[in-house]
């Protein structure tokens, strides 16, 4: 029998964090988007609690603008693993008049998710929300803690985050506050892909090369779905061989031209790539401090 010295320190760290969340909080939940980061979290959670089942539900804030493949994948995964899935819809928040739908060229439901998320947290009284954010993704996330304290409006005040020393995680909160937990904070995009490959994990097909009806705007490739993605008459639709490097909504995620049809070629493509993962996210491009501002409003 062997020893555990070959195990990636990042994996050990993530499992440790999962165990701390469950030990320190009453009602944790895993924010699940169907993207590679949240799928990785599910696998890590399985490992952390084995042979017990994962002791918390999954929560999906469904914007209604998802790639259908992601929804299919989500449902299949939760069924296979016997996980409890809670879905809350941004459409409902819109219908109830709690948020207003954006319109025009650059509209998306990305920022609207925050309201639905905060409502779901309130509804279920979740005190810890586990998410797949990583520090290498984006500037404001580079400074995030593993335990990120939010107030009852989900707001993040960068001046009041706690120092995290050694392995110790201080999750002490007042009633009404909650904590966002990021077990894969120290994982890079490549770390996630390598893990998916090593673990032979299944991920939504849109991460791999496929033909899709798309159009070009601002030098980026967008999905053609007139019900969801606003398109001008002059923006011509063509079928292209593409894949998605990051999976947000159809309305704010650009594709890349690619022939990478399996994980190894995807990993190779990323190694060779000179564009960062979130370079294809229009929700970040709006301003340099977009992410930070959204976090201050309670975004994940």
């Amino acid at each position: 029998m062997k020893n555990t010295s070959h195990i990636n320190p990042l994996e050990n760290e993530a499992i440790y964090i999962f165990r701390e969340v469950v030990a320190q909080f009453e009602k944790p939940v895993l924010l699940f988007s169907g993207g590679k980061d949240s799928i990785t979290l599910v696998r890590l959670a399985q490992k952390a609690f084995y042979p017990s089942k994962i002791p918390f539900p999954l929560l999906h804030i469904d914007t209604g603008h998802n790639f259908p493949e992601t929804i299919v994948f989500r449902d299949r995964l939760t069924k296979e693993l016997g996980l409890e899935l809670i879905v809350r819809h941004v459409q409902d928040s819109i219908d109830q008049g709690k948020v207003i739908e954006e319109s025009g060229r650059y509209s998306s439901r990305n920022a609207l998710q925050t309201t639905t998320l905060l409502e779901a947290i309130e509804e279920f009284k979740f005190d810890a929300c586990i998410g797949g954010a990583r520090r290498d993704e984006e500037k404001a996330r580079a400074k995030e803690r593993v335990f990120s304290i939010r107030d009852n409006f989900g707001q993040w005040d960068e001046k009041n985050q706690r120092p995290e020393l050694f392995d110790m995680l201080n999750g002490q909160i007042e009633f009404g506050q909650n904590v966002r937990v990021f077990p894969i904070s120290n994982w890079t995009e490549l770390d996630v892909w390598s893990y998916i490959e090593r673990e032979k994990m299944e991920i939504p097909s849109i991460y791999f090369a496929h033909l899709r009806k798309t159009f070009i705007r601002d030098g980026m490739i967008w999905t053609n779905d007139d019900a969801i993605v606003f398109r001008d008459e002059e923006e011509v639709v063509k079928e292209r061989l593409i894949r998605f490097r990051t999976v947000g909504d159809m309305s704010c995620t650009a594709a890349v031209l690619s022939a990478a049809s399996d994980i190894l070629s995807v990993v190779q493509e990323i190694r060779d790539s000179t564009i960062s993962e979130r370079g294809a996210r229009i929700d970040d491009k709006r301003s340099e401090s977009a992410m930070e501002k959204r976090k201050q409003q309670g975004y994940f």
Partner: protein
């Protein structure tokens, strides 16, 4: 792949952010859209060079001042290793951030501006890395391009720094000096063509060569129990596993162990990583273990080898770094988190504060302000099982929580 975490510290304007940016740039770790953003902003600011410090500044407020605050984590990798840089501020009012970054790091880079030499901040940064017992310290003497790449100046600075070495607590710390120019790129990744008098490694060469086994000190294995896993399913009816992370050394099947606080003796029956049974749990691995005997164990208990037990006590003296805006006073009550254990603690005595410039101690103190480092004694409501920090970094450290605000008010290193 091995992951090496490096704490970086330097004064404002010392070029620390430029150094990191240069490290990323020269290892092809900056993506083209990031380089584009740097080019754009450098131009907007009227610079005629690429300002790599823009690669690491993040939050809105500080960008306008051009000063970094908080701990920024920056990731890059080579074929050899994955690196995490914990970039921390140089300002004295962010000492707590530096301590945070150093606590999880195995190496540190201290930056000196060649024009200024060893200054108060250099001493403080060195002091902190010594206090936290970071094993590998690289002193990067930067801006050599502004002192005509002078060997004389480099040697003077090196000798001034050496004077501090006698004062330090942690004598086994390894110090390496490298003359660099982050702006021009000399000796960061590429060998300097101008400083031919320097025959040592470049910064990256040095980091790549660091041997993992030398960076961690080997101590007695300690296993603080995070949780108990009891599935109670048909397949695992009698399974009772203890989940946690192994610190300091390794534990193997058959090892004779003691459980604290009950002091029950037993042997390790099996060790699992997920569904894989293993013979040995290496240090820092998250495992689940089962024991030969049925013992009542809960979160916060410790499983450790029979020989070389930790100290079991309701009081201790520690060097602490105070991080809260609220003053620490003798008699104040706090929550101390030691590993996964939480106990109530009362400040029994403040012995003295320690000057971070190696100039000595101040004995006439009874309270501590933010960023003070001091020797303090505590009394606890329950015993904890600890080692001296110098013998066991993980089991000898703790955090102090302010029970009113729940913030992490301080960090401690048990003597």
């Amino acid at each position: 792949m091995e992951v090496l975490k490096i704490a970086t510290a330097g004064s404002v304007d010392d070029g620390k952010s430029t150094l990191i940016g240069r490290l990323l740039y020269d290892t092809n770790s900056l993506t083209s859209d990031k380089i584009e953003a740097i080019e754009k902003t450098s131009k907007q600011k009227g610079y005629d060079y690429l300002d790599f410090s823009l690669a690491t500044d993040g939050l809105v407020a500080e960008r306008e001042q051009g000063i970094t605050i908080d701990v920024a984590h920056i990731y890059f990798s080579t074929n050899n290793k994955s690196y995490i840089i914990a970039d921390t501020p140089g300002h004295v009012e962010y000492t707590r951030n530096m301590i945070t970054g150093a606590s999880t790091s195995q190496a540190a880079i201290i930056l000196i501006d060649a024009r200024k030499g060893v200054i108060e901040q250099t001493k403080r940064h060195f002091f902190i890395n010594n206090l936290l017992r970071v094993k590998e310290v690289v002193v990067a003497i930067n801006k050599m391009d502004l002192v005509a790449f002078s060997e004389e100046i480099y040697k003077t600075i090196k000798s001034d720094f050496h004077k501090l070495l006698k004062e330090r607590d942690y004598q086994e710390q390894r110090i390496t000096f490298i003359p660099v120019s982050a702006l021009k790129g000399d000796n960061i990744v590429h060998k300097s063509e101008t400083m031919t008098w320097y025959s040592g490694q470049t910064l990256l060469e040095h980091l790549e060569a660091l041997d993992f086994k030398d960076i961690y000190n080997v101590g007695t294995p300690r296993f603080p129990v995070q949780s108990v896993i009891r599935p109670k399913t048909d397949a695992f009816r009698d399974f009772r596993g203890y989940a946690g992370k192994v610190y300091g050394g390794e534990l193997s099947i058959g090892d004779s162990v003691l459980v604290l606080p009950s002091k029950a003796k037993t042997k390790i029956k099996s060790i699992y990583f997920y569904d894989q049974e293993v013979q040995t749990a290496s240090r820092r691995s998250s495992v689940t273990m089962t024991l030969e005997d049925e013992i009542n164990i809960s979160r916060g208990d410790m499983i450790t080898k029979v020989a070389n037990l930790p100290v079991i006590s309701k009081q201790f003296t520690a060097k602490i770094a105070w991080m809260d805006r609220e003053t620490l006073k003798v008699g104040n009550k706090y929550v101390i988190q030691h590993g996964v254990n939480k106990v109530l603690a009362k400040v029994d005595r403040v012995h003295h504060t320690i000057n971070t410039d190696f100039s000595g101690i101040v004995e006439t103190v009874n309270e501590l302000d933010i960023n003070d480092i001091a020797l303090v004694s505590f009394k606890l409501n329950k015993p904890i099982f600890y080692d001296a920090f110098k013998n066991h970094r993980t089991n000898g450290s703790f955090i102090i929580i302010n029970p009113q605000s729940n913030t992490t008010a301080g960090a401690g290193f048990i003597q």
